[in-house]
Subunit: 188 residues, 2 copies
DNA sequence: GCCTATGAATAAGA
DNA sequence: TCTTATTCATAGGC
């Protein structure tokens, strides 16, 4: 029985407490919506949120084997054989080692790119061209490339792990410094 | 005036046409929700969708100056003078430089953490044996021992690793909207 | 695309 | 947190 009228538009919420409450409520709504969407269709979703306190959260639809999930979440049937558990744990470790190697490569690559980029920016005097070219075009490309890069890594890992149809879901999560982009786009 | 009952659960939609219709409807709903969330609070959202035909779409809330926004979305008044454009360019560049700095810091942090982790794994010689050896080659006692050892380490890893590499075990605590739980996490 | 009946999300209040 | 009144998204028709 609301005594105060329900909030009207989509204006910024001034009150701190109310704002953060709304943030959490709506975040879970958003996650649920994303989850439902990918359940109803085949779509995959990856999502990163940064709240006002610079804290991040992410959501992504997984492709992990249900059996593995069950093990990992502790729902494994009690009679399940120990070797199954070993497998899971070992996979985790192999996975992690592999990830670490991959991370190294990726970081070096990104660092190089960033250095080039910084230099470019500092050198550039033709700024207008930059704006047009960068934001309109490159963001879409970067987005696409980044996603595919992640997918590729995921694929490689999958190839190494015969009975694990896919990576643990969090691998598909995008890095937090994902380029900001024009608000909405579709590509290839 | 629905003649057919409304769809019940969140089961996969078999019918192709219906499925893609639902995809588009819900995608726009998702985008709207994300947009509202970031309007109501300060949150930033980045989202990438991959539909079943391997096409991508993305949504993100840019944290740009409103002027920049207008400019990027093509809404800039035609008569807007050069100084406006310059302002746009500068803000944009500042944004990106800031991003790059942030990236640098994050990468250093990650690199450090990775090195520690790699060392930890490599130093544990028994562990190495387990990881690189075959499960089938170990006897029951070894297996058991290993399981407990690895479980302990897994726990430690979860306690110490940053979000992007934590073991999926924590999925257990998350709401399951899905037979296989979506990965949802918060970090930093 | 647009229109409604219906169910789901959520803002306040407790 | 939970509850409930209300708004909002959306499934099904066109």
């Amino acid at each position: 029985m609301p005594r105060k009228a329900r909030r009207s538009g989509v204006k910024f919420i001034e009150d701190e407490g109310n704002r953060s409450l709304t943030f959490f409520k709506r975040r879970s709504g958003l996650f649920k919506a994303a989850s439902d969407l990918s359940a109803l269709t085949i779509a995959r979703v990856v999502m990163v949120l940064e709240c006002e306190n610079e804290r991040f959260s992410s959501f992504s639809t997984p492709k992990a084997d249900p059996i593995v999930d069950a093990f990992l979440s502790g729902d494994a049937p009690p009679e399940s054989d120990t070797t199954e558990k070993q497998k899971v744990v070992i996979i985790n470790l192999q996975n992690e080692l592999f990830q670490l190697e991959k991370d190294k490569v990726m970081e070096d690559k990104r660092k190089k790119e960033n250095m080039l980029r910084t230099k470019e920016i500092q050198e550039t005097s033709r700024m207008a061209k930059y704006v047009y070219g960068k934001v309109e075009d490159l963001d879409a490309t970067e987005l696409n490339e980044m996603y595919h890069e992640l997918s590729r890594i995921e694929q490689e890992i999958n190839d190494r792990l015969p009975w694990w149809r896919s990576m643990p879901s969090n691998v598909a999560t995008l890095p937090k410094y994902f380029p900001y982009a024009p608000s909405q786009m579709s590509f290839q």
